[in-house]
Subunit: 200 residues, 2 copies
Amino acid sequence: MTRDLRVCFVGDSLVAGVGDPGHLGWVGRLAVGSERDGLPLTRYVLGVRRQTTAEVAERWAAECRVRLAGGGWESRVVLSTGVNDTTEEDGAPRLAPQESVAALTRMLAGAADAGWPVLVVGPPAVADAAQNDRIADLDDRFTRVCAEHDVPYVPVVTALAADPTWMAELAVGDGAHPGADGYAVLAGLVRPHWQRWLAG
Amino acid sequence: MTRDLRVCFVGDSLVAGVGDPGHLGWVGRLAVGSERDGLPLTRYVLGVRRQTTAEVAERWAAECRVRLAGGGWESRVVLSTGVNDTTEEDGAPRLAPQESVAALTRMLAGAADAGWPVLVVGPPAVADAAQNDRIADLDDRFTRVCAEHDVPYVPVVTALAADPTWMAELAVGDGAHPGADGYAVLAGLVRPHWQRWLAG
């Protein structure tokens, strides 16, 4: 029997694929790859520009519920937030790390209550080295939170900060969003975890 | 100056692009075409499977507000619903035509209040001839509602019901969703209206 798989991809502008002229982003590339592997899925992309983890945590449940609740299909959620938390405004990050952790924790608890398996993809690297240090710190914290909740976590910041394609596309773009090739790199980092998660 | 254009595409499974193994649908094809024409845009896809116009009207405003409200960019909405309204269950359509019209009217009024220009794309054709008659009736009603509200409307049901690519892909699919080529046909019908609307 074919699986009727419905996946909400929740997060920020990188989840929305901002900057990709082909309008797939990393999320679309994962989905197209799964189709090629014989696993079609309904893909709901719920990334919103500029949102912090706390802002995503405010809206994600209502948006996922209307798409996933009901019987007859398999419901899953991929979460990816955090870069916007680490943006400095007036000398402080938009969201303190412990608030980021609290917001992610609330979402993981909500997904467990709803019975939706979750995959968390860590915040990617940006063009600014100081901000990347803050993202790497958040990445450590998110790794621990997900381990505590038995949720698979895909760290990407270190690999992307060292990736010439990713960093070159950020540099010619707005410093936060890559183009098509950068999104392909990110999709490549996530793909093995995504495939393992879908098989589980 | 480059426009910072953010467009919410609101509606049902056809807006979500269900059935396209390339995960673009007609909405993605419009956006990619605009990128090629030098007009990049942030594309928020808010189609939900099985939803009637009344169900879409329940959620659309909150979902668009979180994505479009705020300053510094241009906010627009593309609406496309109605096929699910005309599905018969227990001998009656899921939503009576006057209820479909009322729900669309509420959304048009809400968008006008929010200051979001709207483009409405009519409900596409399905594989069932009797349902297509009901869709054509709804198409007439939606045409009138949009004219009354000075909102551009793109009728597609008649052209798609006569289109061999669209109808062939519905037939090999689930009867409601085409594949990649069918979505390309639909995008082609919408494109001139889309381009005129974005220029206005």
